[in-house]
């Protein structure tokens, strides 16, 4: 990776008006193929932002850049006052520096994956307490207490001792959300959280996300479920070909999209 990662803690200067996540001029390419072509995006604290777009348009890449699972070519990402920035090809800084900064950004972000990614060798409860104990040095008793409360909230109180293989897809995904919450993040990122689920299990997961929205959790959700976008999203972001085509309030996007490409994508759904 060529470029400079700068981590600037701006928390002291933070004001209530500042967005919780701010992405500026984010560019990313794979072997000369531009996947993100300069993305600018602000996410307000407490908002649920839904990202939509065709397969391959760069939605996952955007989320993965946000929490440092993927490096990028240029631009900056600010989360809760901490920034990683790549100013183009000036200095060469070590991979270690990147990992360090990514880790700091990640401490405010939770991530929920399409394939759940629970740890199969651990029970649901152990899945919940592993990271708090390892990363935050929280005692087992405290971590368990916290975990039990969260599992109750997502309706999995009966499943503490079960292994992921003994849970339905919907239960696994709710567990994964609870696991992310156990690290008390400021934001949760979802990458197509219901795409791997049987249709009748989709709603139980969305319900959890709706509840979180109601509680004021900041969420960024990549999904193809436009119904959910219309119902829950504060803002909808439509991406095509690595560029944000349109950002707007949900009711605006779904009733009168400004861009022709958005209109085409939403098609029948309008």
């Amino acid at each position: 990776m060529i470029g400079t990662w700068l981590l600037v803690d701006l928390s002291a200067k933070r004001t209530g008006m500042k967005p919780l996540i701010s992405v500026k001029e984010l560019k990313k390419s794979y072997h000369g193929h531009d996947v993100l072509k300069g993305v600018d995006l602000d996410v307000a604290s407490g908002a649920t932002t839904v990202v939509i777009g065709r397969s391959g348009c760069g939605k996952s890449t955007l989320l993965r850049c946000l929490n440092g699972l993927e490096s990028f070519d240029s631009g900056s990402i600010t989360v809760a006052g901490a920034t990683i920035e790549i100013t183009e090809k000036k200095h060469r800084k070590s991979e270690r520096n990147f990992q360090k900064n990514a880790k700091k950004i990640r401490s405010n972000l939770g991530m929920v994956f399409q394939s759940f990614n629970l740890f199969p060798h651990l029970t649901l409860l152990e899945n919940m307490i592993k990271a708090p104990m390892v990363v935050k040095n929280i005692s087992r008793a405290e971590a368990e207490q916290n975990a039990e409360a969260l599992l109750k909230k997502v309706g999995l109180s009966q499943c503490l001792g079960r292994y992921p293989s003994q849970l339905s897809g919907g239960q696994q995904q709710r567990g994964a959300i609870a696991r992310a919450l156990a690290m008390s993040p400021r934001v949760i990122l979802y990458d197509e959280p219901t795409s791997a689920l049987d249709p009748w299990l989709v709603d139980e997961v969305f319900q959890v996300m709706k509840d979180l929205d109601a509680e004021g959790m900041t969420q960024v959700v990549v999904t193809h479920e436009l119904r959910f976008a219309r119902e829950v999203a504060d803002e909808v972001v439509f991406i095509e070909d690595g560029e944000i085509v349109e950002i707007g309030k949900a009711e605006q996007i779904f009733s009168q999209p400004r861009d022709e490409r958005t209109r085409q994508y939403l098609g029948r759904f309008l």
Binding site: R106, F119, H121, T123, A131
Partner: protein
């Protein structure tokens, strides 16, 4: 003659006192090397009590050591590695039927000959055509590989030579018709050919060879002492007495030592023949096998120690190499890859020789046990590294990403998420490797370790019983391996927790 010898003895003793090397002067023991698998009458396990090592060379060294005023200490070493072991300093003298040849003289010094012998032709009782070397033309003749006899047969030409590794089976093959004749050192013929009622020795002595004690070239003082002692033992008739007892005194020796007196009873030979020839009922046979158990048990413990330690270090190093290969920056990763390819691509036997006999050249001298563990660990670490690499790669990348996105560092993710999952995948091939290492550990007998397979060789060559003792040894290997197989089954189950169907 006698006065001449005396003069030589006193002269040598005088020289020696003047040039006593500090090395040897401080040694409390006469460390001598030999191979107890070499068989009767040289060095062998006592058939009447397998825990004792006997043989005419054992008696000879005992007499020699007494003469030098120190205790003898026998060091077991593979016969064809006796000279490298000497040069390496595992022992200070080799006494084990080592013929004095120019090739060997280039490497080490030899004492004056302590024994002179020849090659003996042996045939079946009913054979009346073979009386000399010339009669062997067109016949199938058995001998030991690399022995003088083999060279003599080659020079003779027109003979179909069968080279054997061990003398015990040669005479059996002659008796049952696979061979037409056997040409071997006379003492071997006396102990392995003559006792068989179906065989007879024929013809005149073939060739002549002299056994000498090999000593490092720089140990001039020791050489002087040994020569003086041999001369004294010869003069006092003690050498002769030993050869008489073992029944290997020949006209050729009488000539060489200029001692025409008649032989005395061959008590050791008789005892040996008696011990070997005992007709045993099944009860005695069982007792006999039971009497091997302490020796085999000792060997098994050595094997177990070697294997467990070897595997322990192989696992540690292997895991480290696998992690470096997968996660370290490119140059380190390349180094790890090269390590695996080089170690995996060369035979364990060569590695053991290199570590034990090669490294002393650059000043690293390891004890046999350390060298053996080092060799096994080195070799198997390469295999383990590959197993672990495959195991780590079998855990989907999404697991690492999930762990990272929960705020774990890479090492934390490895330790708490990746490795526990990889362990399940890795256990069956690891168990395989351990069992394989257990068996490969038999190779370390080439660097003087006496482990289970070596004990088997010693016992089997003493009793001509490769079958019964072989079964016993195989059973011991199996029994050693079994607990590990069980342990691994249990561990596999433990680490499979959470997998569909296994709870």
């Amino acid at each position: 003659m006698n006065s001449l010898l005396w003069a030589r003895v006193s002269l040598l003793a005088f020289c020696v006192l003047g040039f006593f090397t500090p090395d040897f002067a401080h040694a409390k023991k006469l460390r001598w090397g030999g191979d107890s698998e070499g068989g009767a009458p040289y060095i062998l396990q006592d058939p009447a009590n397998p825990e004792r090592t006997i043989g005419f060379e054992v008696d000879l060294v005992a007499a020699l050591a007494k003469e030098l005023g120190i205790e003898p200490e026998f060091v077991q070493n593979q016969w064809d590695g006796l000279i490298p072991g000497l040069k390496r300093g595992n022992y200070d003298v080799v006494v084990n039927g080592l013929e004095i040849t120019d090739d060997r003289r280039a490497e080490v010094s030899f004492s004056d000959p302590y024994f002179v012998t020849y090659e003996q032709i042996t045939v079946r009782k009913e054979n009346f055509d073979i009386h000399s070397l010339a009669d062997l033309r067109g016949k199938i003749v058995g001998t030991l590989k690399y022995a003088l006899a083999e060279r003599i047969l080659e020079q003779q030409g027109g003979i179909e030579i069968r080279g054997y590794d061990s003398q015990t089976t040669i005479y059996e093959d002659l008796a049952n018709g696979r061979l037409d004749a056997v040409l071997l050192d006379q003492p071997i013929a006396v102990y392995y050919g003559n006792p068989d009622k179906r065989l007879k020795s024929v013809g005149k002595p073939v060739g002549q060879m002299q056994y000498g004690m090999a000593i490092r070239k720089e140990d001039k003082a020791l050489l002087g002492l040994v020569n003086a002692a041999i001369a004294k033992l010869t003069l006092e008739g003690k050498l002769r007495e030993i050869y008489d007892r073992w029944g290997i005194w020949t006209p050729m020796l009488a000539d060489y030592f200029n001692d025409p007196s008649p032989s005395r009873p061959a008590v050791e030979y008789d005892a040996y023949i008696k011990a070997m020839g005992i007709e045993r009922g099944w009860k005695e046979k069982l007792q006999q096998y039971a009497s091997y158990l302490p020796l085999l048990g000792k060997g098994a413990i050595v094997t177990l120690e070697l294997s467990a330690l070897g595997m322990f270090f192989a696992v540690l190093v292997g895991l480290f190499i696998a992690l470096v290969r997968l996660y370290a920056p490119a140059p380190l990763g390349l180094f790890a890859t090269a390590y695996v390819e080089v170690i995996r691509g060369t035979p364990l036997l060569i590695q053991l020789f290199f570590i034990f006999y090669g490294l002393p050249n650059i000043g690293i001298k390891l004890s046999p046990m350390v060298a053996a563990v080092f060799g096994l660990a080195l070799n198997y670490s390469a295999y383990e590294a590959e197993v672990y690499r495959a195991g780590l790669l079998s855990v989907p990348k999404s697991q690492l990403e999930a762990a990272l996105s929960l705020g774990m560092g890479r090492l934390q993710a490895l330790r708490h998420v990746i490795i526990p999952q990889a362990t399940r995948v890795v256990l069956p091939p690891m168990t395989n490797d351990f069992i394989s290492l257990l068996k490969d550990s038999s190779l370390v007998s080439v660097i003087t370790m006496v482990e289970l397979t070596k004990v088997y060789g010693q016992l089997a060559s003493t009793y001509y019983d490769y079958f019964g003792i072989g079964l016993l040894t195989a059973a011991m290997y199996f029994v050693i391996g079994l607990p590990f197989v069980r342990l691994s089954r249990w561990a596999e189950k433990y680490f499979s927790k959470g997998r569909a169907g296994i709870l």
